[in-house]
Amino acid sequence: MKEYIDSGILEVFVMGAATDEEARELMYMKAKYPEVDEALKQLETDMEKIAGEMAISPPPHMWEKIEDEIDDLIRLENPAQPVKFRTSGYDQNKHKKAPPEDQFIPIESESNHMRLHKSWRWIFAAVFVLGKIFLGFAIYFYLENRQTRQQLQELKTEIRELKKR
């Protein structure tokens, strides 16, 4: 078993450079021999620590962007294509206009949530403000109307009293 662990196959596997056959064999050995499992876990920890040395925090809002892209991929039912990113291409992509479908309101069928285009927030804000203004006017005219009716009632009473005299 030591010979198998010392062969370097575990290292090749954790670095993603093992062939399918090697990976299958390793999975079998891992299930059968706890020492292989232990050595593999140790290597995975090593890999994580190497990466931890050079970790860079992703920019803020990166997750929101990824989440949107995942939602778009699911919505379009478009499997991910092989990617090639170049600096020039990146700049071009950055200035590309959004595809026309982004102008519509996508509705997720699986969840109870609805996603709207960002421009809708101004419309909602305007509707809210206008609603408040109309409510203010309605209250004002209601009170005005009530006061007028009261005055009218008082005048009628006064006229009736004058007629009696």
Binding site: G8, M47, I50, E53, P59, W63, I66, V83, E108
Partner: protein, 154 residues
């Protein structure tokens, strides 16, 4: 996207995105491009969630393997020899663990870790056997582990 899937991907993102971005940046040496690869990797995670539970590797290693599969296209996009040579001379030795290795060990480690080459192709390139390449890789990990242990002692 189902809420549970979204939560699972977010959990992976919170735990490993910084480490993965650091690794990708070391490979491509360009932050905007590295961020695009990071995004591309996480876009694929919802389709690979089952693999995460049954692949037998840690979540980080699985993500790193996914990143390597994507980065293969980066090497294809290095169009000419000048591009390739310039890229091959990048200062990976900035990594303090790599500096502890011999030049042959550095070559094997960097070819696999940063250039995503297979042990077989490196063996052919360097006129060695695959077994020798694997053993060298093992030595590299021993150096990394010892380097870390020494730091802990000091």
């Amino acid at each position: 996207m189902g809420q549970s899937k979204s939560a699972a991907v977010l959990n992976l993102y919170n735990s490993y995105s910084a480490k993965l971005l650091g690794y990708i940046y070391e490979v491509v040496q360009n932050k905007p491009i590295a961020e695009q690869y990071l995004s591309a990797v996480f876009n694929d995670v919802p389709n690979e969630l089952e693999e995460f539970s049954k692949s037998g590797t840690s979540a980080f290693c699985r993500l790193q393997i996914m990143a390597r599969e994507k980065l293969v296209h980066f090497f294809e996009s290095l169009e000419n020899d000048t591009d390739k040579r310039a890229w091959e001379n990048l200062p990976w030795v900035n990594n303090r663990y790599v500096t502890l290795m011999t030049s042959f060990q550095q070559q094997v480690f960097c070819d696999i870790h940063y250039q995503c080459k297979s042990a077989g192709s490196i063996a052919i390139e360097l006129s060695k056997t695959e077994e020798e390449i694997r053993k060298t890789l093992k030595e590299c990990f021993t150096i990394i582990r010892n380097g870390r242990n020494n730091e802990r002692v000091h």
